[in-house]
Symmetry: C2
Subunit: 386 residues, 2 copies
C-alpha cells in the first residue's frame, strides 16, 4: 500500500511539476462549498488520518469544525450559519496544520497562511468581492528615502477615473498597517481595492488615491519582496515605533505629490491606520497639524507605547492642542470592546478631551482583528473629502 | 493526548485568529533551510504521522525526499545538491498534500499551490531574487474591450526610470501566458519583475515596458480577481484558441499606447509567450506584420492546434511569408528536448523555413516547465530593441 502510495504521489507530482498546467486531480472534491443557508462545508481527502478538524475565523470566537470521514476517505464538516463576511480557515490533520488543497485562495497574516472564503448574501460579502464595476489600479512602486538612504516600497491605489496622462487631481488617503504588517497588508487582508472600487461604484465615497506604505523602518518592502531574501516574517522588528518612521513621513507625501495627480491641500489629505498604524497616524498628524484634514485611528496603539526618546513623541498634549485648534475636518476613533488596547484607548480619549480635540468615537464588538479594520475602512472613507 | 491536542489547537487558533499578529508559534522549526553546499533541508512537525515525504521540482525529474522523524516529532530530510534556481516543493503527510507551515512563500500554478525556495550561488538564484537595485513598478490595471464589451485586467511592468508625468518613451514587450495561466502568471511564476529589474541593473537589456494581459477570453481577470468569484482555477476554459483573442489584440496595443509613454514603431514592439501564449504571439504577429519587430515563441503551441475556423487562422503560409518579407528584427524560438510540443515545433520550423522566415532556434533540456520559460525570458530580452 505504501509503495503504491509512493508511486502514485511520484506520478502525480511528475505530472504537476513536469507539465505544470496539468489538470487538477482534486477537481472532484469541492471545498469550500458555500451553501445557500450561509453555512460553509469543508472537505479534505485524508484516508489514513485519525482526526481532522477545521478552524474558521468566526466571531466572537473561532469555530472548531469537527469533520467526519466517508467511505472514500474524504472528511467533511460544515460551519454553523455565518454572517456575510470574509473568513479564513485551516485544517488540522492529526494535529498538522494543512491548507485546503482544493482552495487556492489564501491570505498571509504575519507568518501564518490560511485559506480564504467569502460568504455572500450581505453588505460585507458584496463589498469584499470583485464585482462587475469599474476598477481602480493597484501599483507596487518604490520611492527613495534620503533620510534612510534606501529605496522603499509603496502600494498605491488609483481610482477608476484616474489617468496619469490627464489633468484631474485627486485627494489622498494614507492608509497604514500594524505591527507584523507591510505595504501589502491593506490590499490583501484588508481587501482595500475591492472596498474602494465598490464604495466608489455605489457613489458612497469620493474617488481618491490610497497610499499604503511600508511602516517598518527595518524593512524596505514586504517579506520576500525585499533584498533580505525569503525570511520567515517576523512580528518583532527592530526600529519599530522609535520615531524614525514618523519623522520622515513627509518624504512619502512629497514623493506622492510629485509622482501622482494629487490635491495637496489639508482638506484633501487623510491619514489612518490600524494598531501601530493608528499610532503612526496620531503621531504624524499631531506633528504636522497642517498636513492632514482627516485622521483615523483604528484599534490604535496609544502614545504611551512609544519605544524611544524621539522628538516626535515629545510635548504630546501641546501638539494635540495645536492640532485640535487647527480644526481637522474629522478625527475618527474606532475600537472593539474586546480589544486589548481598549483601556489605553479610553485614556487616550481622555487626553483628547482635555486638549479640546473633537472626535467621532465608534465602538464595535470584537477584538484586535481584521474583521474590524475592514469595517472601519468602510465606515471611515465615506466621511472623507466632503 | 487527543484532548490535550485539541485544546492546544483551539488555543493556538484562538490566538492566531483573535490577535492575528500573534507570534509565530512555529518559529523554532526552520524550513526550508538552504545549506551552503546547495542542498535544501526541509522540516515539518507531524508527531503522529506514519510517513512524510517531500517532493521538490528538480529536473529532469522531481526528487522525492523521504523524511525521518526525530524524538520531538519533527520530520527532516534534505535534497541532493541543487543548481542555483527556483524550486517548488510540497509535503505529503500520510498521503495528504500539506504546504510547509514554516514557509509563507508560495506559488499557484493553475489549481495547485506549492511552496517556493530559491537556491542562491549562481546566475538564476541572483536573477530571480529581489536585489538591492533600482526597481520598476508593477501595476494591475484594467482596459475596456469594445469587442468583448467588458473591462479586462492587465499586469504592466514599467522600468525604474519610467515617470508617468515625464516625457521619455519606452519600447514595449507584450508577454503572454499559457493555458491555465492569467495576467499574474509571468510576474509570479515567471519572476518577470525580478528578472527585468536585475537585467536592467546589469546593463544587459534596454529599459522596457512589459505588458502581461489575460489571454483567456472567458476570464476578465485572474481567478479570484474577477467578478466570477473564487472559483477553483480551471485549465480548460471555453473560447480558448478560437481566434477571438488574436482578432482583438490590437485593442490592448492601442490602449497601452494611449495610457503609457510608449514608442509605437515596429522596432519598439515585441510579442512573446509560452505555450498558448507562443501560439498567440505567432498568430497575432503574423496577422499584423507591421506591428511587432520582435517575436518570441517559448515552448509554443503550433498553428495546427487552433480550435475554431477563424479568419486569423487562415492562409498561414502566405501570412508568414508576408511577415518574413517584412524582415522582423528577431524571430526567436525556444523549446525543451523533452517538451510534448517538440515534434510539432519541428514541423512548425519546417513551415517557417519554407516561407523564408529567418529565426533563431534555441533548444534546451527539460520539458514544458516554468524553469525553461524563465530561462527563455533571460535569453530573449537582451536581444530586444537594439
Amino acid at each position: 500500500m505504501k509503495k503504491i502510495l509512493t508511486i502514485t504521489i511520484g506520478l502525480m507530482t511528475l505530472l504537476s511539476v513536469q507539465a505544470q498546467e496539468a489538470l487538477n486531480s482534486r477537481a472532484e472534491i469541492k471545498s469550500p462549498q458555500v451553501n445557500s443557508d450561509r453555512t460553509v462545508t469543508l472537505r479534505l481527502s485524508a484516508p489514513k488520518a485519525e482526526k481532522v478538524e477545521a478552524v474558521i475565523s468566526t466571531v466572537p470566537s473561532p469555530e472548531i469544525i469537527v469533520m467526519t470521514k466517508n467511505d472514500n476517505g474524504v472528511w467533511e464538516g460544515s460551519s454553523r450559519v455565518l454572517n456575510s463576511d470574509l473568513y479564513t480557515y485551516t485544517f488540522y490533520v492529526d494535529g498538522v496544520k494543512t491548507d485546503d488543497p482544493s482552495n487556492v485562495y489564501q491570505l498571509r497574516d504575519v507568518a501564518t497562511v490560511q485559506n480564504l472564503v467569502i460568504v455572500p448574501g450581505g453588505e460585507k460579502g458584496r463589498l469584499y468581492s470583485v464585482n462587475d464595476v469599474k476598477h481602480g489600479d493597484l501599483t507596487k512602486t518604490w520611492y527613495h528615502s534620503d533620510a534612510l538612504c534606501q529605496d522603499r516600497r509603496l502600494t498605491v491605489y488609483t481610482p477608476p477615473s484616474y489617468d496619469a496622462r490627464g489633468s484631474r487631481r485627486y485627494p489622498v488617503l494614507y492608509l497604514l498597517h500594524g505591527m507584523g504588517g507591510d505595504e501589502n497588508a491593506w490590499s490583501e487582508l484588508g481587501r482595500a481595492s475591492q472596498i474602494l472600487d465598490n464604495l466608489i461604484a455605489e457613489g458612497k465615497i469620493e474617488e481618491m488615491i490610497v497610499v499604503m506604505p511600508n511602516g517598518n523602518i527595518a524593512m524596505q518592502a514586504a517579506p520576500g519582496e525585499n533584498p533580505d531574501g525569503m525570511l520567515q516574517p517576523d512580528f518583532n522588528l527592530p526600529r519599530t515605533m522609535n520615531g524614525e518612521y514618523e519623522s520622515n513621513f513627509s518624504e512619502i507625501v512629497d514623493w506622492i505629490d510629485s509622482h501622482y495627480l494629487t490635491k495637496t491641500d489639508k482638506g484633501s489629505r487623510a491619514i489612518a491606520g490600524l494598531s501601530m498604524g493608528g499610532f503612526h497616524s496620531l503621531i504624524i498628524s499631531m506633528n504636522n497639524p497642517e498636513m492632514f484634514g482627516y485622521v483615523g485611528l483604528f484599534s490604535s496603539a496609544t502614545p504611551d507605547r512609544a519605544k524611544a526618546d524621539s522628538e516626535v513623541y515629545k510635548n504630546i498634549e501641546s501638539k494635540l492642542a495645536t492640532q485640535a485648534a487647527s480644526a481637522p475636518s474629522l478625527y475618527w476613533i474606532g475600537i472593539g470592546k474586546d480589544d486589548f488596547l481598549y483601556d489605553s484607548n479610553k485614556t487616550m480619549r481622555e487626553t483628547l478631551d482635555k486638549v479640546g480635540m473633537k472626535y467621532i468615537y465608534h465602538e464595535s464588538d470584537g477584538g484586535h482583528i481584521w474583521r474590524n479594520w475592514r469595517d472601519y475602512l468602510v465606515i471611515f472613507t465615506p466621511q472623507l473629502f466632503k
